[in-house]
């Protein structure tokens, strides 16, 4: 029993090293910044109309991609959700280039406020910015959308307030802050009410967190669900499956 049963220096060093490696590995993975670069601005953007076969109300919502694309992607999101930011920066650009700009699919941005107190006001900001630029300069909405996500700090939800969103709006070219403020005051309550039915649709599809996606084949009526910031490959597979279903 020379080594067995005793705390040896070798084992103590191995354990210490392993704990240190584990801790620093976790810290590294946690804090490294996600892939970014240019944010995604779709080639074409349009305002939705009517209710789809999946019972999602698209009236006046921002939609990336062609109006007649065969696959609908309903994207429930929250400007306060870090996981949504991960989708926006790491997956959306490739998804956009490969499937939205090619006419395979279109992606509708739908609010699902669930993270913090300011989630709903943030969703109203987004809707008002879109209303203001939908006809004149739809790209400005995507610039604003990416800038809002980019404001997410390293941690927490305290960053989100009127002041921060006003600053983002003011700094986004093509968006008129005063028009957006007027919209928030005059239409805020209506916008909040109109968020509810689509959130209920997401919940009915058992989407319990953001980002949440339903992929819907507009011809066959087949649908699939993805929850969370999946890698691009999973989206490509899912689109393929729904297209063939």
């Amino acid at each position: 029993m020379d080594e067995e049963g005793n705390i040896t220096r070798r084992r103590a060093l191995i354990a210490g090293g392993a704990v240190l490696a584990f801790g620093s590995g976790v810290a590294y993975i946690g804090s490294r910044s996600g892939a970014s670069g240019q944010h995604y601005v779709p080639d074409t953007t349009h305002a939705g109309s009517g209710t789809t076969g999946f019972d999602v109300d698209l009236d006046g919502r921002p939609i990336a991609g062609e109006r007649d694309a065969p696959i609908d992607i309903y994207y429930w999101t929250d400007y306060l959700c870090p996981f949504c930011k991960q989708f926006e920066t790491e997956t959306l650009p490739e998804l956009g280039r490969e499937h939205l700009d090619t006419g395979d699919a279109r992606l509708a941005v739908l609010p699902y406020p669930n993270i913090g107190e300011y989630s709903t006001p943030a969703a109203v900001w987004g809707r008002c910015v879109w209303s203001q630029v939908a006809d004149s300069d739809p790209d400005a909405f995507w610039n604003w959308h990416a800038a809002a996500f980019a404001e997410q700090p390293e941690s927490g939800t305290d960053w989100a307030d009127d002041e921060m969103f006003a600053a983002v709006t003011e700094q986004t070219a093509g968006v008129d802050l005063s028009a957006v403020e007027t919209c928030r005051e005059e239409r805020g309550a209506t916008i909040r009410e109109r968020i509810e039915p689509n959130v209920a649709m997401a919940q009915e599809s058992r989407i319990q967190g953001t980002p949440g996606f339903v992929l819907y084949n507009r011809d066959s009526g087949a649908a699939g669900k993805l929850v969370g910031a999946h890698p691009y490959e999973n989206f490509a597979d899912a689109i393929d499956q729904v297209r063939r279903a």
């Binding site: 049963g5 084992r11 976790v26 870090p82 939800t157």
Partner: protein, 184 residues
């Protein structure tokens, strides 16, 4: 049970030190503590957004690395370094607790004493690895922990305190005695 609270606390600290050192007493124990710690970390992190984890793993189980790194980042972004450090600490302590609990179970079996009472704290401590930091994720919301006081860190601290308490109470499983903290 003689001695005041100071003695009891000194005993507990010494027992805790013995308990934490136990996995260092053999290569197999060290390995089992490491494996359990790693597995606990993976489970805790994946349970912070179970729907996503299940979907990623059922699409391609080899994507577990992606799921763990994505959700590690998510835990950091939601709760900061403190939250991440607490989850990692939790995992390491769970590794120690499970290793010690296994030793207690073996010992109990060998001696055939009614030591289940002595084994329980260790098992509870190990079982609690899934109750403090992870279980709220089962509600399905990544933000569920964020809605709690201090972004859920209070709960994590509570879980760690519970683990430490049980570890200290059980002491070194090789020498643990059942009659009120005395040592064999």
């Amino acid at each position: 049970m003689t001695g005041g609270p100071a003695t009891a606390s000194r005993d507990w600290t010494r027992d805790l030190r013995d308990a934490l050192g136990y996995p260092l007493t053999s290569d197999a124990r060290l390995l089992s503590a490491a494996v359990v710690a790693l597995a606990t970390y993976v489970i805790l992190v994946l349970s912070s957004f179970p729907q996503f984890s299940v979907q990623v793993l059922s699409t391609d189980p080899t994507d577990i690395g992606y799921a763990v790194t994505a959700l590690t980042r998510e835990v950091y972004l939601t709760t900061g370094y403190l939250g991440l450090a607490l989850v990692a600490t939790y995992a390491v302590l769970a590794g120690v607790a499970v290793t010690n609990a296994l030793a207690l179970v073996q010992r109990a079996r060998r001696r055939s004493v009614s030591t289940i009472v002595g084994v329980l704290p260790g098992l509870l401590a190990a079982g609690c690895a899934s109750c403090g930091a992870g279980v709220l994720g089962a509600l399905g919301f990544v933000g569920a922990m964020a809605a709690l006081p201090f972004d859920g860190n209070l709960l994590r601290v509570g879980g760690i305190a519970l683990l430490l308490f049980f570890l200290g109470r059980a002491g070194d499983p090789q020498t643990c005695s059942l009659d009120g903290g005395g040592r064999a």
